[in-house]
């Protein structure tokens, strides 16, 4: 497994990635706004897509992802997590499309958002368009506050409200970061959240 990161700066609003050779691929991005299109045009592609969003102040993210299965027997798996403070906003639209000839595809999509302030706003649209029948596709989306039972437990261990929150948020974020670290040996350079600067990381394994 290669431990090299290919860091691509997203210069245009739209980025189209074409998967025409079988293999394992991972894509990771933080605080990215724009359109990401993943064209899978050959069988045997295993694609993991990880996204992380940390919204502060009046940050506004608009991200569209498109898992476009045009060939059979491939897999794509998307996980986008976000934590939103202050007046930050997320507009997420994720589309999985399985074309007629892309039989035996597996495609997954998960979006989980934590709302840390009453003034933040989340618009999540996990869409599916399935034109083949022998496939398996799921999507899930959850939005809400921190798990109140976990908060309670953490506080009984002597942490105050703020510490407990920080700990649980860290755990929530690390689920994505750890997956990326597992897929490589170095950690990707972290995005500077406040300025909304974005890094787009593409890891052929």
């Amino acid at each position: 497994m290669s431990n090299k990161f290919q860091i691509i700066k997203l210069e245009t609003k739209e980025k189209r990635l074409i998967y025409d050779k079988p293999g394992n691929y991972s894509v990771y991005f933080e605080n990215l706004s724009g359109d990401l299109i993943f064209d899978i045009i050959t069988p045997g592609v295993q694609l993991n897509i990880y996204g992380l969003y940390i919204g502060k102040k009046n940050c506004e993210f608009k991200i569209n992802t498109f898992q476009n299965h045009k060939a059979p027997l491939s897999m794509s798996n998307l996980l986008i997590k976000g934590v939103f403070y202050d007046e930050s906003k997320l507009y997420y639209r994720g589309l999985i499309r399985i074309e007629k000839n892309a039989q035996k595809s597996h495609a997954y999509q998960k979006n989980q958002n934590l709302m840390m302030s009453k003034d933040c706003f989340i618009d999540s649209k996990p869409y599916l368009e399935i034109l083949a029948n022998d496939v398996f596709c799921t999507h899930g989306s959850t939005t809400g506050r921190l798990d109140q039972e976990q908060m309670f437990y953490t506080k009984t261990r002597g942490l105050n409200e703020k510490q407990a929150e920080e700990l649980l948020v860290e755990g929530f974020i690390n689920e994505v970061r750890n997956l990326v670290i597992l897929g490589s040996k170095t950690t990707p350079e972290s995005a500077n959240n406040d300025s909304g600067r974005v890094h787009f990381v593409h890891l052929p394994e």
Partner: protein, 466 residues
């Protein structure tokens, strides 16, 4: 139960048509004169005429929806907007003209009425031709009549609520309905009254190139309960008919309303319906929405949860076969604290059909402790068919729990194999699995309907590709 029927040439059972006899038919197409004519024939109060004319102007200016199913083939000038089938409404089946009575006999309405219904209304073309309600309910103050009678006999209630849940500006088809509406049901349940048996309305289109625009208003006062069931059928024609209903429901404090639809229009019908409820404190609104028929359906029953603790629920089944597109779903708008909602959608596409789930969950600021659970499961039976899921979640409040999940898959090969090993042939096995798939919803609808629904889906499934 395993279906033994293996007739592969299933035909739409309600596709027959009767010779068209009417006492009045408006000319083809729509303009202000047609709208005025409908209103004056019905001898309506001037506020309703004004409402219709205003809605007509809005309809003219509104754009067609740019999303959803393909509506480009609808020609608003090629439709008859109003057909009056009989001179007056009756409350005995024997008094109906023979063609109409035969129609309802074939559908099985009088039979069902005897067995398990508290009240029945039957609409043929534009007007309700038959109506009855148990005397006991009338004594308790329950009103169940067609919308036109409602407007005539209870103008103050109608004026207070009409158009308050779905405004005439809402969307093009709601505007159209507001301008040419005719028939539909008016239901009023007083404080504390629980209507134990369902009230039922049957809608039938018989004429060609016809538009049916029924308008239903249900008001459930505090602590009351009512279950309203509607069924729809039409003959098969080569030309299109349009069905654009508006249904408004008001669920007051602690009341509960259940609205069940078994939509089985023939495939030449465009079914474009706006259904919405406003739910007050601790009220419960349940939509059970089954779409089997029509060529194109666009329908998203909605709950506006405006009172603390209000609950909304949508249970939805959609089946799309050859040349059908079911674009159905639900909307839950949380506007008050402690409101909860649940959407369960099951869709099946086969023989080249397309089902789309389209939904909206919105939580407004201040709707603290809102809980939302949405689950959409889709089955795709063969490679010609298609399934889409378009949910939209807009969350503007922190203290909430929102969950959405969806799956799309085919019938399990292992399950089919197991059933085959038990000696069940493929067609029957598919039918069994599909009925199992929709079971969480069918068990919520009245028994007679769920049997009918299972039978219909079995028949539709037969001969589908494996």
């Amino acid at each position: 139960m395993v279906m033994k029927n293996t007739d592969l040439n299933f035909e739409y059972k309600y596709g027959f048509s009767m010779p068209e006899k009417h006492v009045f038919k408006s000319r083809k197409g729509i303009d202000e004169d047609v709208v005025r004519q409908i209103s004056s024939l019905k001898k309506e109060p001037s506020w309703m005429t004004a409402f219709r004319l205003k809605a007509y102007k809005v309809f003219r200016n509104k754009q067609m929806p740019v999303w959803g199913a393909d509506l480009s083939k609808i020609d608003f000038n090629d439709i008859y907007y109003y057909i009056k089938p009989t001179e007056k409404q009756v409350n005995s089946w024997e008094d109906l003209p023979k063609e109409i009575k035969d129609t309802y006999d074939k559908i099985g309405v009088p039979e069902a009425e005897k067995k398990f219904l508290a009240g029945v209304s039957a609409q043929y073309e534009s007007e309700v031709v038959y109506e009855s309600i148990q005397k006991e309910l009338t004594r308790q103050g329950v009103i169940f009549c067609d919308m036109d009678t409602g407007l005539r006999k209870y103008p103050e209630i109608v004026k207070k609520y009409f158009g308050t849940v779905i405004s005439l500006y809402d969307n093009k088809f709601a505007s159209l309905n507001s301008s040419v509406w005719s028939g539909g049901s008016f239901v009023y349940v007083p404080n504390g009254v629980k209507v134990t048996l369902p009230l039922q309305a049957y809608f039938r289109i018989n004429a060609q190139n016809f538009g049916q625009f029924e308008r239903t208003l249900i008001i459930a006062e505090e602590d009351s309960f009512v279950h309203y069931v509607e069924g729809c059928t039409a003959p098969i024609y080569t030309t299109s008919s349009l069905h654009a209903a508006v249904v408004e429901i008001i669920v007051k404090k602690n009341a509960r309303v259940r609205y069940t639809t078994v939509q089985n229009w023939s495939k030449n019908v465009y079914n474009l319906v706006t259904k919405r409820s406003k739910v007050y404190e601790n009220g419960v609104m349940e939509w059970v929405d089954c779409n089997i028929g029509s060529g194109v359906t666009m329908k998203y029953p909605s709950c506006y949860l405006v009172g603390d603790g209000a609950r909304g629920e949508v249970l939805s089944i959609a089946y799309a076969g050859d040349s059908q597109h079911q674009d159905a779903g639900a909307k839950m708008i949380h506007l008050a604290p402690n409101t909860t909602s649940r959407i369960i959608s099951k869709s099946i596409s086969s023989k080249g059909g397309r089902t789309s789930y389209r939904g909206l969950v919105q939580v407004s600021p201040g709707a603290k402790n809102a809980k939302v659970y949405v689950t959409c499961d889709a089955l795709i039976i063969d490679e010609k068919s298609r399934s889409d899921t378009y949910p939209d979640m807009r969350i503007k409040e922190k203290e909430v729990d929102i969950q959405h999940e969806a799956t799309v898959e085919k019938l399990g090969e292992e399950k089919l194999f197991y059933l085959a090993s038990r000696g069940i042939n493929k067609t029957e096995a598919e039918g069994l699995l599909v009925n199992g798939f929709i079971d969480p919803v069918t068990k919520e609808i009245p028994l007679e309907y769920s049997i009918e629904l299972n039978r219909l889906i079995n028949l539709e499934m037969e001969g589908s590709v494996g």
